[in-house]
């Protein structure tokens, strides 16, 4: 009997087309919630569409997504609900879109946060990435628009980047569906605890602020020992964030 040789793709661990089902807007009874965050105009909505099989309109202008959009996909018989957050440059201000993004990552407790960045503008995008890594432990960096970065003659050492950030890094070109299967695979491994992150925490904070954060976060940990992001809570307290003060009182984030 003739055995058909398997193609290189089929033998690859990333190849799992059978296990993948794009579910569009059908977000009922899911196993994991995945948040999609990132700067404006990095192609978050395109990544969202590529992962869910939806065809939501994407636009080439910053701030296109003003509300969160939801979609879903199924991978290896597990259902993932994907939430596309509004694009923001930071999570430190009071505008409505930033609040939506910040509160969802903090209080929505997504199993995994996918941080979409523009590979050509990595340095500027890292501002948001580093802030998100203060809030959550389970994240993956989606290095999107790789095609543009290549056209601009940029070489990105994804392994060094992953090591420095302490989270997995997946290069993608969502417009052409490149890297999306790998991204889905990584999300699934993170959700199931097969990959453990040790996210980078901001180091170059001025001494006086660092000491204040230290003091506050020690006290927060005394009250809520299980909290993973006491330093971020401390940061928001210094900012005077009303939401945080309220939830600190009710203890909702534990």
């Amino acid at each position: 009997m003739e055995v058909k040789p398997k193609s290189a793709c089929e033998t690859c661990a990333q190849f799992n087309a059978e296990g993948l089902k794009k579910l569009g807007v059908n977000t009922s009874d899911f196993d994991f919630v995945v948040a999609l965050a990132g700067n404006p105009n990095t192609g978050k909505s395109t990544v969202f569409n590529a992962m869910t099989g939806l065809r939501q309109h994407t636009g080439n202008w910053p701030g296109k997504t003003v509300t969160r959009a939801e979609g879903a996909f199924e991978y290896n018989r597990q259902k993932f609900k994907l939430v596309d957050l509004p694009g923001t440059y930071s999570l430190l201000s009071t505008s409505e879109d930033e609040e939506v993004a910040r509160n969802f990552i903090l209080f929505g407790k997504p199993s995994v946060t996918v941080i979409v960045v523009d590979a050509s503008r990595l340095e500027r995008n890292l501002n948001l990435v580093l802030q998100i890594l203060e809030i959550t432990n389970n994240a993956v960096l989606c290095l999107n628009l790789m095609d543009e970065a290549e056209r601009n003659n940029l070489e990105i050492d994804t392994r060094t980047l992953a090591r420095d950030l302490g989270i997995p890094v997946v290069p993608t070109s969502a417009r052409y569906n490149r890297g999306i299967p790998e991204l889905i695979q990584t999300v699934s491994e993170l959700a199931n605890g097969k990959i453990l992150c040790k996210p980078h925490r901001i180091k170059n904070i001025p001494k006086n602020i660092e000491q204040a954060l230290e003091k506050l976060s020690t006290e927060i940990k005394e009250v809520y020992p299980d909290i993973p992001n006491s330093r971020w809570i401390a940061l928001r307290l210094l900012e005077g964030d009303r939401n945080i003060i309220e939830t600190l009182k009710t203890g909702e984030f534990v």
Partner: protein, 472 residues
């Protein structure tokens, strides 16, 4: 839970905030950027220093330049409008042929064979069905052209450049530069433009953007402008130039709308909505060649059909109302003629007439049905024989025939110009009003946003009429 401890944490955070002082934010941001720079240094390498971003920068240099920026913007707007106007003619004629000339008589015939009472037949088929058919025939083709073209420009990356060009004008008027983006969305649909104001951080500037979005001539009003400009303004010049003349008139009205947007923004920011202009970073994204067919598909599905659907939902009851007011009699005249007679005097002051004002009252749900309502009511009051009878909306196949009816109704160039002005300056449609309420959650600001433009419309048309009559 330890409430005491938590209170202690909060008061400690208050003390620490005082100790750290004002530089907290800046220092923190600097810290984060220092981290980012270190990380990037180790993992990103540039193969050669030259060559990158050059084409983008070159294009930007032209389309955001002080000299070429504005003319190019108007040129692009003109091309988009031209394609919309010219391209929409054929499918529009085809659709109205099917919906109005074939299906409508067929429905009437069916109604009479099953012996439907005249009032039910009139109410449903001449009222509800015709209004819906009208909206589809008149709105669908231009939208199916305008929205994809707009979306292609958007995907290419042109919108942020428009915002960049207009930024300092908005800043001068005390508004947010991102209002340029919401304004552009408003050219498609004001309700969509108002939802888009969520990108504006400061509540003050967002309110300004919401209140003034109505000055973006929306999709429901383009056809009115185009039709009236073609009949009355285009006729002023020899036939070979009339197309360009009408196009210029329509663009003139759109630009006037933008001027009003700046003036009203300025007025608001100097009076009830005083405050500092906030600065913001607007990233000029790289130009990305749009994926043509995908864009066409999504813009037709996401925008065109959704906007069309809501127009139908609102037009159907409006059609019913039009039929009712033309067929319910108070004494010896229909409700519609009573209304028209009582508004005629006021209409004359504004250089308009009673018919136009009644049409605008009836057409609050959907701007698209203003013109058919005006035609129908004009026929009703002048008693000329055209169209399909009392309370039946219709579209005349030829622009000339429409012009004849309007002239028979006493229309002059002044009426036409003032109608174009009033179409720009009047209350938003009911969907937009509802959207404003949903976004602001304030009855007060919804009222301001709804009534302010009407008052301005009255003032402007009144002034134009008086000056016109003095000079003429």
């Amino acid at each position: 839970m330890d409430t005491k401890k938590i209170d202690h944490i909060i008061s400690l955070s208050n003390d620490l905030r005082w100790q750290i002082g004002d530089e907290f934010h800046d220092n923190l941001a600097e810290g984060i950027y220092a981290d980012a720079a270190e990380i990037v240094k180790d993992s990103v390498h540039k193969k050669d220093e030259t060559g990158a971003f050059r084409i983008d920068a070159k294009i930007d240099k032209i389309i955001t330049s002080k000299i070429w920026g504005f003319p190019l913007m108007f040129l692009i707007l003109a091309v988009v409008l031209w394609l919309t106007i010219v391209g929409a003619n054929y499918p529009s004629a085809m659709l109205s042929g099917i919906l109005l000339d074939t299906i409508h008589p067929a429905l009437k015939g069916f109604a009479s064979t099953i012996g439907m009472p005249w009032w039910l037949d009139g109410f449903l088929i001449d009222g509800v069905y015709l209004a819906v058919a009208w909206v589809i025939a008149v709105m669908l083709p231009p939208m199916a052209i305008f929205f994809p073209l707009f979306t292609l420009l958007e995907d290419f990356g042109y919108l942020p450049r428009v915002a960049f060009n207009l930024d300092h004008l908005f800043k001068l008027s005390g508004a947010h530069g991102k209002q340029a983006l919401t304004m552009s969305m408003g050219f498609g649909c004001n309700a969509a433009g108002i939802v888009a104001t969520r990108i504006i951080d400061s509540p003050r500037e967002r309110l300004i953007a919401i209140i003034t979005n109505n000055f973006s001539l929306c999709n429901g009003r383009w056809p009115t402008q185009i039709l009236i400009a073609t009949i009355f303004v285009g006729a002023l010049v020899p036939a070979s130039y009339s197309g360009i003349m009408s196009l210029a008139a329509v663009i003139g009205i759109a630009v006037l709308g933008m001027i009003f947007m700046f003036l009203v923004s300025w007025g608001l920011s100097k009076t009830v909505l005083k405050g500092e202009v906030s600065t913001f970073n607007l990233e000029l994204p790289p130009y990305r060649p749009p994926r043509f067919w995908k864009t066409i598909y999504t813009s037709i599905i996401d925008r065109t059909l959704i906007v069309l659907w809501r127009a139908i939902v609102f037009a159907a009851p409006a059609g019913a109302v039009i039929w009712l007011i033309s067929n319910i009699y108070l004494g010896d005249a229909s409700v519609a003629s009573w209304l028209i007679d009582s508004l005629d005097g006021f209409g004359f002051l504004l250089g308009l007439n009673g018919v136009i004002l009644v049409a605008y009252i009836v057409a609050i749900p959907a701007n698209e049905i203003v013109i058919p309502t005006i035609l129908m009511l004009t026929v009703l009051v002048t008693g000329i024989s055209a169209g399909a009878g009392a309370g039946v909306m219709f579209e005349l196949d030829s622009v000339t025939a429409t012009g004849d009816i309007l002239r028979a109704g006493g229309w002059t160039l002044l009426t036409a110009i003032n109608l174009m002005l009033f179409s720009l300056l009047h209350n938003p449609c009911s969907t937009t009003i509802y959207t404003i309420y949903k976004e602001t959650k304030s009855v007060k600001w919804t009222l301001v946003a709804s009534i302010l433009p009407v008052i301005m419309g009255f003032v402007v048309t009144f002034l134009v009429a008086q000056i016109w009559r003095l000079l003429a």
